[in-house]
C-alpha cells in the first residue's frame, strides 16, 4: 500500500550545512502492517515520516500510496489518507476551541462548507466516542484546559475518526508521564486492532518495539539497516538487536544506551 523507492533527502544543499538525512530509502509497507521504527536521534526516522506525510519535498525518489504517486502532492492532500500524530500533544488539536468543535472539525477531511455540522445527533455520537477516553463531560471545555495525556488521547480519537489508510505515530507518547503514556498506547493498540489500521510507529523503547507489531525497522545515519518481520521478529531480544546493530555498523557499544541517545 505504501511504496517508497530510492528516496533521498538532502537538507540545505549546496551550503556548508549540507546534510544527507536519508539516502536511497526503499521500503514497502503492506496492508495491515504495524511497523515499529527504532534508531538513535538523527538517524532519519522523523525525516522519513516527514517525507511520507509531505511536510518537506523529497530531493529524489518516489512515494506511492495505494498505487497513487504522491511524491509531489502537498501535505494537506495526503492528509486525506494519512493520519499523523506528533510527539507534541499541542500539535493535533486546536487549543482555543472546545472539545466538540475539535471533534466536529475532524469528522470529515477536506474543505468545510457553510453547514452547521455540530447537530444534536453528532453531539450524541461524539459523547459516546469520548466516553472511551473519559472526556464525555468536558465537551464544551476548551481543549487548552486538558492535560497533555488527555489532548493526545483526543488527537488519537480525532485521527482515527476518518479511518486513515496509514497512521504515522511519531513518538506520540514520549511527552507523557508513564501512566498516561500507557493509557494512550493501550488506546492506540485498541484502535489499530479494531479498525484494522496500517501503522508506522517511532519508539525509543526497544522491548516494546520487539513485543508490538508485526514488523521492526532499525534506522541509522539515513539508512534502513534492519527490517525484520514475522517469526524472525518474535525471536528478537534487546541484546540480539544491539548485537545485530554492532555487526552491521561494526561499532562497539557497551550497552544498548548507544542506540538510545535520549
Amino acid at each position: 500500500m505504501l511504496e517508497i523507492s530510492h528516496v533521498t533527502k538532502v537538507f540545505f544543499p549546496g551550503t556548508v550545512n549540507e546534510k544527507l538525512a536519508l539516502e536511497d530509502i526503499n521500503l514497502t509497507v503492506n496492508d495491515g502492517d504495524v511497523i515499529c521504527v527504532i534508531g538513535s536521534n538523527g538517524s532519519g526516522k522523523s525525516t522519513l515520516f516527514n517525507m511520507i506525510a509531505g511536510t518537506f519535498p523529497v530531493t529524489s525518489g518516489t512515494i506511492k500510496l495505494q498505487g497513487k504517486d504522491i511524491t509531489n502532492s502537498p501535505e494537506y492532500k495526503r492528509a486525506f489518507m494519512i493520519g499523523r500524530i506528533f510527539q507534541d500533544p499541542t500539535k493535533g488539536t486546536s487549543a482555543n476551541m472546545s472539545v466538540q468543535d475539535n471533534m466536529n472539525l475532524a469528522s470529515f477531511k477536506g474543505m468545510k462548507g457553510l453547514k452547521f455540522g455540530l447537530t444534536k445527533e453528532r453531539k450524541a455520537q461524539f459523547r459516546e466516542m469520548l466516553k472511551q477516553i473519559g472526556l464525555e463531560d468536558r465537551m464544551e471545555d476548551n481543549v487548552g484546559l486538558l492535560s497533555g495525556g488527555q489532548r493526545q488521547a483526543l488527537t488519537l480519537l480525532m485521527t482515527t475518526l476518518s479511518r486513515p489508510s496509514l497512521m504515522l505515530l511519531d513518538e506520540h507518547t514520549a511527552a507523557l508521564d508513564p501512566r498516561n503514556a500507557e493509557i494512550v498506547m493501550d488506546l492506540t493498540k485498541e484502535y489499530i486492532e479494531r479498525f484494522n489500521l496500517t501503522a508506522m510507529m517511532v519508539t525509543h523503547n526497544m522491548q516494546f518495539a520487539i513485543d508490538y507489531g508485526n514488523r521492526l525497522i532499525m534506522m541509522d545515519e539515513g539508512h534502513i539497516i534492519l527490517d525484520v518481520s514475522g517469526e524472525e521478529k518474535k525471536s528478537l531480544t534487546v541484546q540480539g538487536l544491539v548485537d545485530e546493530f554492532r555487526k552491521i555498523r561494526k561499532k562497539d557499544f557497551d550497552s544498548d544506551e548507544g542506540l538510545l541517545t535520549k
Binding site: P74, E75, Y76, K77, A79, F80, G83, R84, F86, T90, K91, G92, T93, S94, A95, N96, M97, D101, N102, N104, L105, A106, K109, G110, M111, K112, G113, L114, K115, F116, G117, L118, N142, T159
Partner: protein, 312 residues
C-alpha cells in the same frame, strides 16, 4: 450630539469586526485595512455619484474590500512572506489605486446626491433625524454582526478559528491553509471596506487619506472591548468589539470636546491612540502577572498551612 458618537461608533464597529477576524481569529496582523477602508469609501462614493443606487454601491464596496484582502493573502501565500509585510505592500499600492478610483482627486464629495444618511430620516420619520441615523446604523451593524456570528458557527467558520490557533490541525484535516487565509482576509477586508463605504456617506465625502492609522484605532477598540468581559463565545466576542468601538469613539469625542482644557488638539489623537493601545497591552500584562502573583501567594499560604499542621 451623543447620537453622533453612537453613529460614528457603530460605523467604526463594522471595521473593528473586520480587524477582529484578521487580528484575533486568524492571528494574522493585517495592515491592508488602512488602504481597504479608503477603497471601500472611494468605490461606494463613485458608485453613488454615478447613480448606481445605495445597496449596489455598498455591495460593490464590500466586494472591492474582498479583492484587497485576496491580494494580501495571495502575496502572503505565494511568496511566503509574513502577513505584516504583505499587508503593508497592499496598503501602499492601494493608495494609488484609491486615487485612480476617485478620478485622480484627493477627495470627492457626496453633497448633491442621496446617501444612506439622507434616506434614514425619511425611513424613520417618526423620530428626530439624528435618532433615525442611529436606528439605521444600529440595524446595519446588527445584521453584519448576526451574519458574522452565524458564519463563525458553521464548519467553515470553525475551521478559520482553528487555523488561528494551530495551522497543523488544518493541514492534518486535509484543508489548504492558504485557501482559508484567502477566505478569512477577504471577509475581513470586505467588512472594513463596507465600513468605509458607510463612513463616506455619513461624513459626506470620500478621501484618499481616510484610512491613515485605522488599524491602530481598530486595535485600540478591540482591546477596550476585551477589558469589558472575557469570553470565548463568538456572539460575545463580536459584541464586545462593537462596544469597544463605540467607547473608543466616545473617548475621542471627549478628547475633542474637553481636550483643549489640557492642551490636546485633534493633531494629538494618533499619538494618544497609540498610547492607548500600549497602555491596554501593559494593563493586560500586569493583570496576568497579578493573577500569577496571587496564585503564588495562595500556594505559599497553603504550604505554610501544611507545615504548621505538621508541626502541631
Amino acid at each position: 450630539m451623543i447620537e453622533g458618537i453612537f453613529v460614528e461608533g457603530l460605523i467604526f464597529s463594522i471595521m473593528v469586526l473586520g480587524i477582529l477576524i484578521s487580528y484575533r481569529i486568524l492571528d494574522l496582523a493585517d495592515l491592508t485595512c488602512d488602504g481597504s477602508v479608503a477603497t471601500g469609501a472611494a468605490v461606494a462614493t463613485m458608485c453613488i455619484v454615478g447613480g448606481m443606487g445605495i445597496p449596489a454601491s455598498l455591495i460593490l464596496a464590500f466586494l472591492s474590500g474582498v479583492v484587497c484582502g485576496i491580494v494580501t493573502a495571495t502575496i502572503h501565500n505565494k511568496l511566503h512572506i509574513p502577513g505584516l509585510l504583505a499587508g503593508i505592500l497592499t496598503m501602499t499600492m492601494l493608495y494609488s489605486v484609491n486615487l485612480r478610483i476617485l478620478g485622480n482627486k484627493a477627495n470627492v464629495s457626496l453633497v448633491r446626491v442621496d446617501t444612506l444618511y439622507r434616506l434614514f430620516p425619511e425611513f424613520f420619520s417618526f423620530v428626530p433625524a439624528a435618532f433615525a441615523s442611529l436606528i439605521g446604523s444600529l440595524i446595519v451593524v446588527l445584521i453584519v454582526k448576526g451574519l458574522m456570528d452565524l458564519f463563525f458557527r458553521t464548519d467553515l467558520g470553525l475551521a478559520l478559528g482553528a487555523l488561528g490557533g494551530n495551522e497543523q490541525v488544518i493541514i492534518s484535516q486535509g484543508m489548504n491553509p492558504a485557501t482559508l487565509k484567502l477566505i478569512g482576509l477577504g471577509l475581513s477586508n470586505g467588512l472594513i471596506a463596507l465600513s468605509g463605504g458607510l463612513l463616506a456617506q455619513y461624513q459626506g465625502f470620500a478621501d484618499a487619506n481616510l484610512g491613515q492609522g485605522m488599524v491602530v484605532q481598530g486595535l485600540a477598540a478591540i482591546m477596550i472591548g476585551e477589558f469589558l468581559f472575557s469570553s470565548n463565545r463568538i456572539t460575545l466576542i463580536t459584541l464586545r468589539a462593537v462596544l469597544g468601538a463605540i467607547i473608543y469613539k466616545g473617548l475621542m469625542f471627549l478628547g475633542r470636546k474637553y481636550g483643549y482644557l489640557i492642551g490636546i488638539t485633534p493633531n494629538d489623537f494618533k499619538l494618544l491612540t497609540g498610547i492607548l493601545v500600549i497602555i491596554s497591552l501593559a494593563v493586560a500584562q500586569t493583570r496576568a502577572m497579578a493573577s500569577a502573583k496571587g496564585a503564588k501567594k495562595k500556594a505559599l499560604e497553603r504550604t505554610k498551612g501544611f507545615a504548621e499542621g505538621n508541626n502541631a
